[in-house]
Subunit: 349 residues, 2 copies
């Protein structure tokens, strides 16, 4: 049966790889002491934050909940070149107001909540692009990422594989060789070993792909070779289903309001589809922030994974030392390193 | 600052460790082909299943939902000796019907839903035991586990570290050296290297502890050194918060009805506590199945992690090859290896 045939390198090799192949996190002196991760984020300097472009933000408004409260869900789209054709389609469908009046029709516990409609159900804009499973992964190109990232960036280069204690051991992804972030959204990579000019083994990233974490948004599809259009989307509402990585297009992540989707009653029909229309949640509108009047656009920023505060934050996430914790985990997985995002306060307000 | 000082060994060493220290999964020839994991579970033989003891099942009944439907949540308790004092307390509180009339008072997205009351709020049975953070972890004892488990059990012993392709690379836990199962519930372990009689390095488990996955149930507590009594419990409703491992007592896992808790509206007060009593969900009763009349007891069984079908299932979970998947993940984390559990059909029924 099938199995991962790509050579997977381990932590020791990764350290070398990332030193060779990508910019590293600043090795700022740790000043984190018994701070909480939140305290580190709160103390980050303005230049360590990066605002998300309005064209990368999708705003979905659902009908009000039972208490009459507004339900707004904000999705950050994957940056180019990840999932580019699907992201293009999502933008085109938003511009066409295509989802308005459709609904959330599926909810499965510890799995996904799903909305939209198939192209057979509703004609789609002519600007929709064809999609292909070939584009679930990309070949490595420098410049498409924030720092490709793991514990290695925080370890002295002379550490050997046998020296496994300390924070250096905290990066071990069962699903990839290395993790990183693209505009703050999680990605993973495989590596291959090459000889450098001196005949030393170095490891370079080969394929790179977006990963599924809690709140990740992906493109529903039929059986392969269908790759989906983007007209039906799902959000992850449980433990990261990383087995979907490289099998489905990830187009972004809900950065605000995911709770409006995660609390929806679970569907009782086949595959968690609601059995009656009455159970659906109606979509009032889906818009790109860039379509909205400038003073009505939501604005968000993420803590840049290249920043020193991010490095401190991630190390603390892996090794909590504040009052609640007595044993540091000694590790963290990419989906527990959810990049801090916050609204941008209006300077005039 | 604190960091994991326990020596952590990596996959290559783990393989040796588990061959040395624990029974291994049967190396049955793979017959899984393009089956789905569910098909493997459905084809498991009766002797590969193990029924959960009635004294290890806790049944919580909530008031009916808005549609008038019953809400029943079933928790499987951790077996001895894991979290033994807390599990004792949970049984005593259930026997005293202590939770009846209390409520679910907290809900935080991608984190926990919590219920019960503090001992200051309601007098507790005299049989409640003191608890200590020292008991979050156990020293290794053989016999307390189903097989301690990783990919190594499925790899030829002669494979070397440099040979990283194939399914063998799929076990890499950033939070521990090895994963396993105790009565089907997930646990993790650290290893230490020792010399055997021939002077060869072998790796033996040292500490072992229950882990937090989706649906895991833990004991809420105040700041350390408080270790909580068990009177206030939470269930995980998001990505596995493994940083809580060894910092909180895990007492079990919801094996049925977790959706009755995961869909509850998120609290808007501090720490996700509901701001009004009206938002609470009332608990009608919490009972041990062993307290219930024999013909009213719910019965469940889990697929034994020592079984060949479990091994096939886990390998398939890590390397999906059925029609929906085009790229096998090549890995799986312990929380995506949620041990299959199903109701036991009444033979007379």
């Amino acid at each position: 049966m099938g199995s991962g045939k790509t050579a997977r390198m381990k932590t020791a090799l990764l350290r070398t790889a990332l030193l060779a192949a990508a910019a590293l996190l600043p090795l700022a002196p740790s000043t984190v002491g018994a701070q909480t991760p939140k305290e580190v984020v709160d103390a980050a300097t303005p230049d360590e934050w990066q605002e998300i472009a309005a064209d990368d933000l999708v705003v979905m408004i659902l009908t009000p909940d039972a208490a009459g409260d507004e339900r707004e869900v904000v999705i950050q789209l994957m940056p180019e070149p990840f999932s580019a054709n699907w992201v293009h389609n999502v933008r085109e469908l938003a511009r066409a107001h295509w989802w308005d009046g459709l609904s959330v029709y599926r909810s499965v516990d510890n799995w996904v909540v799903q909305w939209g409609a198939g192209e057979a159900e509703k004609p789609m804009p002519e600007t929709i692009r064809d999609t292909s499973a070939d584009d679930y992964t990309l070949n490595w190109e420098s410049g498409i990422l924030n720092t490709m990232w793991g514990s290695f960036g925080r370890r002295p280069a002379e550490e050997t594989y046998d020296n496994m204690d300390g924070v250096g051991s905290w990066f071990n992804d069962p699903y990839s060789s290395a993790i990183g972030f693209a505009q703050g959204l999680p990605v993973a990579s495989d590596l291959e070993t090459q000889a450098d000019a001196q005949g030393e083994r170095i490891n370079r990233p080969t394929e790179i792909w977006p990963v599924h974490c809690y709140a990740s948004v992906g493109v529903a599809r039929a059986l392969a070779p269908s790759a989906g259009t983007g007209a039906e989307l799902y959000v992850v509402i449980g433990h990261a289903p990383r087995q979907l990585d490289r099998n489905i297009a990830v187009v972004g992540k809900v950065i605000d309001g995911v709770e409006h989707l995660s609390v929806l009653p679970r569907g009782t029909g086949p595959a968690g589809v609601y059995e009656t229309e009455a159970e659906h949640t109606q979509i009032i509108s889906v818009r790109l922030a860039s379509e909205m009047a400038e003073d009505e656009r939501p604005r968000y920023r993420f803590l840049n994974p290249d920043s020193g505060s991010f490095a401190d934050w991630a190390e603390l996430k892996a090794n909590r030392a504040d009052a609640f914790y007595t044993v540091p985990a000694g590790g963290a997985d990419v989906c527990n390193l959810s990049v801090p995002v916050e609204p941008v306060e209006d300077e005039a307000g």
